[in-house]
Amino acid sequence: MRLLTKTTLNLLSISLFIYLFGIIAFYYTLRIQVDSNVNKEMDKRKYSIIRQMEEAHSSVAHPPNRNEMVMVTPVENDWLKDQYMDTLIYNKEEQRYQLYRQLGFHEKVNNQNYYIQIFKSLDETDSLIIRIIATMTVLIILLIIALLVVNRYSSRLVWGAFYDTVDKINHYDLNTHEDFSLQESDVREFEDLNRGLKAMTERIKNDYLNLKEYTENASHEIQTPLAIINSKLELLLQSGEMSEKQYKALADAYEASIRLSKYNSTLILLAKIENKQFPESKKVSPEAILEQLLENLDDLIRTKKIEVIRKIMPHVTLRMNPYLAEILIVNLVKNAVRHNVKGGKLIIELDPGMLKISNSGPETALDDNLLFKRFFKSSASPESLGLGLAIVQKICALYGFEVSYQFFDGLHCMRVRFDNKLERV
């Protein structure tokens, strides 16, 4: 929830709460005020009625207006205190009950006890109260709306710098070498935040550049001597006839140095993925990569007599680095082919949500805790580097894909779930 929405909601709920209680309290205050006014009027009437009755000898006093009624009843019993109360009286003309204020009192006129009730209609005052409250409601609603609008508008102005900062942080990419410049704000808190952020990005950027430089230097420094070793060994091979023993020693040295350089470049690749040094991202078609790869691995597949079953949905695209997409798919498929058995199966399933590659192989499940570790090797192929799945996992982590291993029905199955997260990368 946005801060503005949250504060607005808080403001709204609190003001509605206050308003509700306020209006109830207001109503009762008005009511009490009106009642006491009416009571006073009725007190005045009481004396005028008593006077009238004394003069007219118990004749019934006529109400001076239609809002007032007087009832005089001769009674036997005793003196009682004056009583004020509300009462409902049925109005025949309007066919509804109407609210009246009533004053009941006893009076002795010419030795006869009378119980006299004065009724005063509250209809007019009531509708007045309702009108006042309605007007207030409208006023308060208008006030709240005005407040919200002003709040929203001024928040935009005040928080503009903040949202700009957030936006810049979201889109900041160390690899673009862009300067991290933030919009200035006249709010001190935001200025503090921006200053802190600038210092932090600067630090991170320096660390990152150092690290990047280090990986690149390491790669360069190691690859060059390796290049010399390889080329000298290759030259040595051309130097003429050698004994079988010499060739064998040379062949082993050559193999080892090639493996070393593969390790090196693979480890550098892992570091680069970890450092997110593959910023470029575009639509890639896993289908195209798969087709190309299967063609490339055709020899291997045919030699092993592997049955390839394709359940590839057409037009599936991913938004990611094309180079990494290729590495990801190549590693998975290559493993599935390499660890396959003669006459085994290779099932490739692709839909917009996932890529699943299953293959026959040894009849025991692999330990999926160790599977993604670096240098984990199955005993069957000691020549492999043991880095393929570590790379797969790193790439998946980078893009928020979920990779999992299952052993089911004699098939080893690697599944990569593409999330909707990938659009954000």
Binding site: S231, E234, I258, E383
Partner: protein, 225 residues
């Protein structure tokens, strides 16, 4: 073909020159940016082998310089940096190939040969070696003017052999040429064996001499001497 090898690592440079020796090329070497600029300004070269990381400059700048002079020769970039950016940039500004260190000398040689064919025959080329004739543009191969029935990989294998005739080619070098980085070398050796078996059978069937020699445990040699 006149080739300038720009590589700051003297020993690597020596190895390249020695490997190319006897291929009919005239190789010159430069170990830094400044010397390279001087040499490029003074002499016309058919081909440049450029290392990107030079002690006093960038090989990419050298490529730009050469391209500005609109020399038609080929350029092969050699770099320890296997970063995609560099590769793309190198190819964009006019390099023909990009090799990542460490590379196989046979691979470099094959690329040089293809550049050589391009500049000397203006593309419409034929590659003739005794009774074997290759038309690289069409991916076709003939022995005594009979067309060979070869798969794509077998054809590539033959072209690679002919480009590196009389050299010992390691299995690892062959594997990388045929499959790139996609296959670990250990996996692919069996297929190399199969492909070579098929290629040899096809060549012999069309009456070609048996040029392919197996070097124990190491690789092969296309022996035409």
């Amino acid at each position: 073909m006149k080739i300038l090898i720009i590589e700051d690592e003297v020993k690597l440079s020596e190895a390249i020159v020695e490997y190319l020796d006897g291929e009919g090329h005239l190789c010159e070497v430069a170990y830094n940016y400044e010397d390279s600029v001087e040499k490029i300004e003074l002499y016309p070269y058919d081909c440049l082998v450029v290392d990107i990381n030079l002690p006093d400059g960038s090989g990419l700048d050298l490529i730009r310089l050469v391209k500005k002079k609109s020399i038609t020769g080929g350029i092969i970039v050699v770099s320890a940096r296997n970063s995609l950016d560099n590769r793309i940039e190198g190819l964009e500004i006019g390099a023909d190939h990009y090799l990542t260190k460490p590379f196989h000398l046979a691979e470099l040689n094959a690329h040089l040969k293809s550049i050589h064919r391009r500049i000397s025959f203006n593309g419409s080329n034929e590659l003739v070696l005794n009774e074997i004739k290759l038309i690289p543009d069409e991916h076709r191969a003939f022995v005594h003017d009979q067309e060979l029935v070869l798969t794509k990989k077998e054809y590539e294998l033959l072209l690679f052999f002919i480009s590196n005739k009389n050299k010992v080619i390691t299995k690892a070098g062959l594997a990388e040429h045929l499959w790139g980085d996609h296959m670990d070398s250990a996996d692919s050796y069996d297929f190399i064996y199969t492909h070579i078996k098929n290629l040899r059978r096809e060549l012999l069937k069309k009456g070609c001499r048996d040029y392919i020699r197996t070097i124990y445990g190491l690789g092969y040699k296309f022996d035409v001497i």
